[in-house]
């Protein structure tokens, strides 16, 4: 890697890093918000929830993105690429979060829930104030692991034309004729993000 290359590469790549970061954050947020009720519904064995989880975990994210990007406009739903991209990642993330939270919810001791019922908390309050916090705390490593998966998966939204890290590296490779350096730099930035995220898992005891 030459000094000229770094000088040319760094500004656009850093901008693209921001795009990767916030689109991943958006997807994880959607995933958590939708994943919680989805987990509760899956635990109650509602069919739609089980089918949802099976679909979004069973179909490659790339195909989901193609579906959202190409198929939705045909149905008259015209979304900006960024909304389609982040939204699809979020819907997919929700399925994984639901599975994680389902595992966590199963760990919540029964007596704690009964105590809450006797004290008069409503089922919604019990879910939001007792069961979910316990599940999220127990599953924090898995949730952060899923966040890391999403950061990596976000490289796929380059396919629908969003200028994030991977897309930016493609452009760099084309303009500099240095694909090796471009993709290595791109990979290094992903690695730094994910190492930072996994340090979060290890830091701060529960």
């Amino acid at each position: 890697m030459t000094w000229e290359f770094v000088q040319e590469a760094l500004p656009p790549m850093l901008w693209a890093t921001l795009a990767t970061l916030w689109s991943s954050a958006g997807a994880v947020l959607i995933g958590l918000v939708l994943g919680a009720p989805l987990a509760a519904a899956a635990m109650a064995r509602h069919r739609w929830a089980l089918v949802y989880i099976s679909f979004f975990r069973g179909v490659p994210l790339l195909v989901q993105l193609l579906l959202a990007y190409f198929a939705l406009p045909f149905l008259g739903i015209d979304l900006p690429a960024i909304v389609a991209g982040v939204g699809t990642m979020g819907l997919c993330c929700a399925a994984y979060m639901a599975e994680i939270l389902r595992g966590g919810l199963a760990l919540v001791p029964h007596s704690g829930i009964e105590a809450a019922r006797l004290l008069g908390l409503t089922p919604t309050q019990i879910l939001l104030r007792i069961r979910l916090p316990i599940a999220i705390q127990a599953m924090r490593p898995a949730i952060l692991g899923e966040a890391i998966m999403i950061v990596k998966a976000s490289s796929l939204i380059s396919v629908v034309g969003i200028l994030e890290l991977t897309r930016s590296a493609q452009a760099l490779a084309a303009s500099t004729f240095m694909p090796l350096e471009s993709y290595a730099l791109c990979g290094a930035i992903y690695l730094i993000i994910n190492l930072a995220l996994s340090l979060l898992t290890r830091g701060r005891p529960a």
Binding site: V59, L62, V63, L66, A71, I148, L180, Y183
Partner: protein, 217 residues
């Protein structure tokens, strides 16, 4: 509409075998490599373990798509000039191996130390300990994680379409853009993968049950 349908069928008939062959060979290669790495991390000297850990962490910390780009577009600059299917197979094997090695490592860690110390005191060699003690003891425990990863790798094969491997996604996308029937072909893709992953997961559970019973007997 009929034409799109029959074109899709032809494309699927051409693309699915490519998907399946790359997937199966990459799972086999990745599992073997992953097992070796997992075992080495236990027994090899520090100087070997360190770089291994670094490689595993790099592979696990970067997107599969970027790895594919690096190998396929960057490779030729350092003398690695592979056809798309070969590059795809290699990338998927290495990617899988990193995750397989973590599963095996966790399995090795779960073997009670007393059993290993007993084997060492009795004079078994390292290889013997790995094959005769650790592998059987942990096999049952790691099986679900292994099949789970295999299913995840099916989905990763779709990414190979981006480096023009003529697999399922690539073929159907080609039909879609040629016929302007993208909705239909993308739906076929989604349903095809969904059926494939569900069927694999179902089969895997049955195999797990059978092995469990065989080991229990």
């Amino acid at each position: 509409m009929m034409a799109v349908f029959s074109d899709s069928m032809v494309a699927a008939a051409r693309g699915l075998p490519v998907t399946l062959i790359i997937w199966l060979t990459a799972v086999a290669a990745g599992m073997a490599l992953g097992f070796a790495v997992g075992a080495l991390r236990f027994f090899a000297p520090r100087a070997v373990v360190w770089p291994l850990v670094a490689v595993v962490e790099v592979v696990r910390g970067t997107p599969f798509l970027v790895q594919c780009f690096l190998l396929y577009f960057g490779g030729p600059f350092i003398g690695i000039d592979l056809s798309p299917p070969l590059a795809g197979f290699l990338a998927l094997s290495v990617y899988g191996a990193a995750y397989f090695s973590e599963i095996f490592r966790a399995g090795f860690l779960a073997v009670p130390p007393a059993q290993l110390e007993a084997a060492r005191l009795l004079g078994l060699s390292r290889m013997q300990i790995v094959w005769r003690i650790m592998l059987p003891v942990m096999a049952l425990g790691v099986l679900p994680a292994l099949t789970n990863l295999a299913v995840i790798l099916i989905k990763e094969t779709a990414v190979l379409s981006i480096i023009t491997v003529p697999e399922f996604t690539f073929r159907l996308q080609a039909v879609g853009s040629a016929s302007f029937a993208v909705v239909e072909t993308t739906l076929v893709l989604a349903l095809g993968y969904w059926a494939l992953t569900e069927a694999t997961a179902f089969l895997a559970r049955r195999v797990e049950k059978r092995i469990e019973r065989a080991l229990a007997a």
